[in-house]
Structures are given as structure tokens and as C-alpha cells.
Amino acid sequence: MNKILRVTLAFLVVGLVVWGCAQESGPIKIGLMGPMTGPWASEGQEMKQVVDLLAEEVNAKGGVLGRKVQVVSEDDGGDPKTAALAAQKLVTQKVVAVIGTYGSSITEASQNIYNEAKIPQIANGSTAIRLTEKGLKYFFRTCPRDDEQAKVGAQYIQSMGYKKLAILHDNTTYAKGLADETKGLVEKAGVEIVFFDALTPGEKDYTAILTKMKAANPDAVFFTGYYPEGGLLLNQKKAMNWPVPFIGGDATNNPDLVKIAGAEAAEGFAFLSPPLPKDLPTPEAKAFLESFTKKYGKAPASIYSVLAGDGFRVLIAAAQASKSTETDKVGEYLHNQMKDFPGLTGKLSFNAKGDRVGEVYKVYKVNAQGEFILQP
């Protein structure tokens, strides 16, 4: 008995020592939470490609603070429940910070978990206004906010001279927020809202909704939901022979939209978005696009994956500048000291709420070949 106890103790001590050493000299773990499966899988998989590539580059240059960087990715499935689980998993794996995710409702489900664990979270595709209005100390985002998006959307709607507008959202945090915000702005400008309702995401047949919208006779339709439904709407609108112009929010910005709708049905669709990877003007972006294309054989398709890359880069910069991976030092640096960091998507600084400062939404249009063309 005594012998067994002693052997066990010895093992425990050795184990603890080994573990302790590993903690100090092992790699710095950075979490990546994204929709690797589910309806938004194309976003999540590309996020992983981008962050993996950047981590490789950092490690090739010797890592951070003398330690290698290891990316630990978890799948949130584009679903709030799965996201909460994924967040718990990353917290228990002792990551120093988390990048992600895509989709405001998904981010919202994980925000408090990270905040309570004092792990900084840098979201890449979550533009709902209220995410940064909660006073969470460790939440940041590299994407802009929906009040700005609504402003650009309302300007576009007015400039096109639309007098009667239909707004369709999908009841997610992001889509509902953008729809409400835009409604308030365009109504002030004298545009009549003839239709305002939500669809159920994940279905295939939206003809009932389109028929009802058509009866309201709008000059244009503003859809604030995501690309899988956006593609179906465009396709079914075309099949109904209804030529009304469609405008989308930045969640329709994914090449899968054209794949689902067909180029013919998607032609003329206008959407709001931060500039796409191919239109990024910075030298950092050009170099990044080149190495991404070299590694994966194609350029990144979505801006959100590049924004995830920016999340990774500011994090590394903050760790290097503050010479620490401690939450409070990194957070403090991101909030107050980082000024005009040369990001892939332009200059980056964060305000006290954790929102990105500056940066403007652009209007894009789909051409006859199904390509996204930046509108002047």
C-alpha cells in the first residue's frame, strides 16, 4: 500500500514539474473560433486558412517573445449553442486570446464566457451595434459597426432615388439591428417603408415572402440577412419574373451568393461591404494576398477572413509591444496605445468600447459574370 502511494506521488510530482515547464516554454496558444461547418462554413474555413498562414509566418520569424505561436481552432457551427460550448473548450485550453467569430448572434453567445475568463476576444465579422455597448472590457472587433453600414446604405438608397422601400431581415441580432437602423435613417429622409418583416433562415422556399413583397410594390428591396438566403431570394425573384432591384447588407458579401443564385439572377445586385480583399490598397494586403495565393492556390474570397487575420496581427503586435501575454496588458495596449497599426484592411486603432476607429463601407455591385465590382 505504502509503496503504491509513493509511486503515485512520484509520478504526480514528475507530472507537475513537466507540466509546469511546458507552461512556461511551450507555445503561446491563440484561439480561433469560427463556423467551420454549417451554413457559413465557407467563411469559417477561410478564416482558419488565413490565421494558420499568418501564424506560420510569425513562427518562421522566430515567434513572439521567444515562443512559438499555436492556433487552436474550434468550430462554432454558426450556431449560438455550439458557440458557447466552443468558447468553454477554448477557455479550458488556456488560450491567451481568441479571434472570431462570424455572425453577431454567435459572437454574442460567447462574449460573456471569454470576458469572465478574462480572455480578450477580437471578433472579425460581427457588426451588430450592441456587442460593444455592454461595457465588456476584453471585447474588440476589427470589423466596422452597423450604424455606419446603415448610414452608407441609406445614402445609397437616397442617391438611387428609391421612394418606396421594402426591408427584409431574418431576426438575427445583426440583421434585425441593421434593418431597424436603416429604417430609422431612410424614414427621416422621406422614403416610405412599404414592407418590413423577417424570413426564417435555413428554409428553401421564399416565394411566399417574395409574392407578398411584390404586392407592396416597392422601388427596391433591402435584405439585411446572410448570403445563403440572399442567393435563394435572388434566384426565386428571377424565376417569378420580378425585376425589382435588390440591395444587401455586408453579410451577403460572399461568392457563394452568386453560386446559389446563378450569375444571371445575381446580376445587378448591390451590397454594402468593407472593401473586398482584391480591392485592398495597402502594401501589407498585397504581400498577404500573394502569400495566401501561393499557399492555397486561390485568393481569399471573403473580407471577414482577412479581418480575422487583422485580429491575429494586432494581437501579436500587442503582445510584442507590451512584452507580455497577460490579458490586462494586452487589452490595455489595444485600447489605448495602438494607434494606426498598419493592418491588412487599412489603419487600425480601437476606441474605449473596443470598436475599430474609422474605415468606411463601400457599395459593390454584381456584374454579368457574377463578379463583385466596387462602385465609385
Partner: protein
């Protein structure tokens, strides 16, 4: 009036797909008193197999659009029926004598297995049917725009449902299925091979579910590995609405559910569409607990 008719046709097209899937639920329940939760995933498999066969064999190019689609549909039906029979053999038959709950758990497990299998084979991203297989021109009936594909789907679904109804009512095998549904023990005593009947049910149900998957692919173009869940749930609801275990009930229930959804969205609220449909379901079940066409069956002792 025009909007009403347009919405009615929208609802009919959606409802006929619900009805086709609901038939699979109701047939299995009728004979085995088991809810086959994996049925929605057989539907998904149908749409994926349809896509693979369509793009790899290029049938529509060789045989022309209609004959190609018909040939494709038969192939999909055959393959999904095989998978259905295999499912019965591996997931349900070993549990035939166990408590009913074990079979339900097995069905749930099979559902998760099939869904993940599809994801691993085809990937998690959306797959898209080619956009140019069927002529896109809409029929213009008195100012109503109805895409030709929709009419074809509706007609095909109705023809298949009629054929199934006649098969069950008029043929010897159909009689055997009905007999096994009423009382398996007595059917066995009358010399009916009940295991064979169950196998046939697991060939027909999945075949119809699979062809519904193909129709969804052709109609909407976009398929993904989780879509079986939403359609499965709706079809299951439709089967209950019509009276589970009752074949005409599943057809009526499916089409009714589609129409209620479309009209609810049109005249009440789109966001409340599902709530409206389920309220109607609850209302009907309060008045008729066995569903619209279900018969009251004495509890077996």
C-alpha cells in the same frame, strides 16, 4: 385574388414536397410504430446523390431534359431505397424485440450518423445544382407567374402519391402491408412474411424521401447537409396533422401544411409563419387527437 392564387400555388409546391417526405414517416410508423428520425437524412442523401449523378453522368445532355430527369429520379429512388433497406437491417431489425424506446434512440443515432457521413463525404459547404438543367421560363396563367419546374414537381408528386395509394389498396403486397400495420402477430399467423413487409416499407419510404430531395435540389438549386432536419420536422408535423400511420392522411397533411404556411405568411406575418402553422396543428389535434384522417385505434393490451 391574384395574390391569393399565387400564394396558393406557392404553398402547393412546398406542400407536395412535405407530403412526399411525410409518406415515409407515416408508412414506417404504420407498420412498426416507430418514428424513423433518420428519414430526413435519407431525403438529404437523395438530393446529394441526385447532384452527383446529374453532374457525373450528364444524363440531361444525352437524353434531353425530361427523359434525363426521369432516369435520374429512378436511379436516385433505387439508391436511396437501398440505403433505407440497409438502415432497417442494421439499425432497426436487431432491436425488433427490444422496448420501443431503444429503437427510437437507434433512429436518432442513425440520423446523426447519416448527417455526418454526408458532411464528411461532400463537405460542409453548400452544394449547388447546375442552373441550366430545366427550362427556367415561367408559365403565364392569367397574370400568375408559375415557374414550369414547380408545376412539374407538383404533378410528379401527385402521380407518385396516387401510385402509392393504388399499390397499397389494390395489390396483394399492399394488402399485406395493411394487414401487418393492423396486427403483426395476426398477419404472421395468416402466412404473411412480416419481415419482408417491413423491408418493402423501408424500400418505398426512403425512395419517396430521396426523390423529394432530388426535387428540392432541382427546384431551389441549393442543398446542404443539415437541410434534412428542417424538412424532416415539417414532414413529421404533416404526418401527425393528417393522422400518423395513415397514407392519404400524410398527403393531405403535407399539402395542407404547405398551404397554411404560405397563406399565413401572406395574410398574417411572415416572421410568425411557423407559429401559425403549429397553432393550426395544435387546434386540429385538440379537436381530433388522431389527426385529420387518423382512426381511433384501441390501445393494444
Amino acid at each position: 385574388m391574384e395574390v391569393f392564387l399565387q400564394q396558393l400555388t406557392n404553398g402547393l409546391a412546398v406542400g407536395s414536397i412535405y407530403a412526399l417526405i411525410a409518406l415515409g414517416y407515416t408508412m414506417v410508423y404504420g407498420v412498426l410504430k416507430l418514428i424513423n428520425f433518420a428519414h430526413g437524412d435519407l431525403f438529404t442523401i437523395g438530393s446529394y446523390l441526385g447532384l452527383t449523378l446529374l453532374t457525373s453522368l450528364a444524363l440531361t445532355g444525352r437524353l434531353g431534359a425530361l427523359a434525363g430527369i426521369l432516369c435520374l429520379a429512378l436511379m436516385v429512388m433505387g439508391l436511396v431505397a437501398l440505403i433505407g433497406a440497409l438502415l432497417e437491417r442494421t439499425a432497426y431489425r436487431p432491436l425488433r424485440q427490444s422496448p420501443r424506446l431503444s429503437a427510437v434512440v437507434s433512429a436518432l443515432g442513425a440520423s446523426i450518423f447519416l448527417q455526418n457521413a454526408v458532411m464528411l463525404i461532400y463537405g460542409a459547404r453548400f452544394q449547388v445544382y447546375p442552373h441550366d438543367i430545366l427550362p427556367k421560363m415561367p408559365l403565364d396563367l392569367f397574370g400568375l407567374y408559375i415557374p414550369l419546374v414547380k408545376v412539374l414537381v407538383l404533378v410528379a408528386a401527385l402521380v407518385m402519391m396516387m401510385a402509392l395509394y393504388l399499390f397499397i389498396q389494390k395489390t396483394k403486397l399492399g394488402t399485406a402491408i395493411r394487414a401487418a400495420a393492423i396486427d403483426q402477430g395476426a398477419a404472421r399467423l395468416m402466412g404473411i412474411d412480416v419481415d419482408r413487409v417491413i423491408l418493402i416499407v423501408f424500400l418505398i419510404g426512403p425512395a419517396l424521401g430521396g426523390v423529394a430531395g432530388l426535387m428540392v435540389g432541382l427546384l431551389y438549386g441549393q442543398i446542404n447537409f443539415t437541410m434534412g432536419w428542417v424538412y424532416g420536422l415539417k414532414a413529421f408535423t404533416a404526418a401527425i396533422l393528417g393522422g400518423i400511420g395513415n397514407i392519404p392522411g400524410a398527403m393531405v397533411g403535407g399539402i395542407l401544411l404547405g398551404v397554411i404556411e404560405a397563406l399565413g405568411a401572406a395574410y398574417l406575418s411572415i416572421a410568425w409563419k411557423d407559429a401559425i402553422a403549429f397553432c393550426v396543428l395544435i387546434g386540429i389535434l385538440i379537436v381530433r387527437p388522431t389527426g385529420l384522417l387518423g382512426e381511433r385505434v384501441a390501445e393494444k393490451v
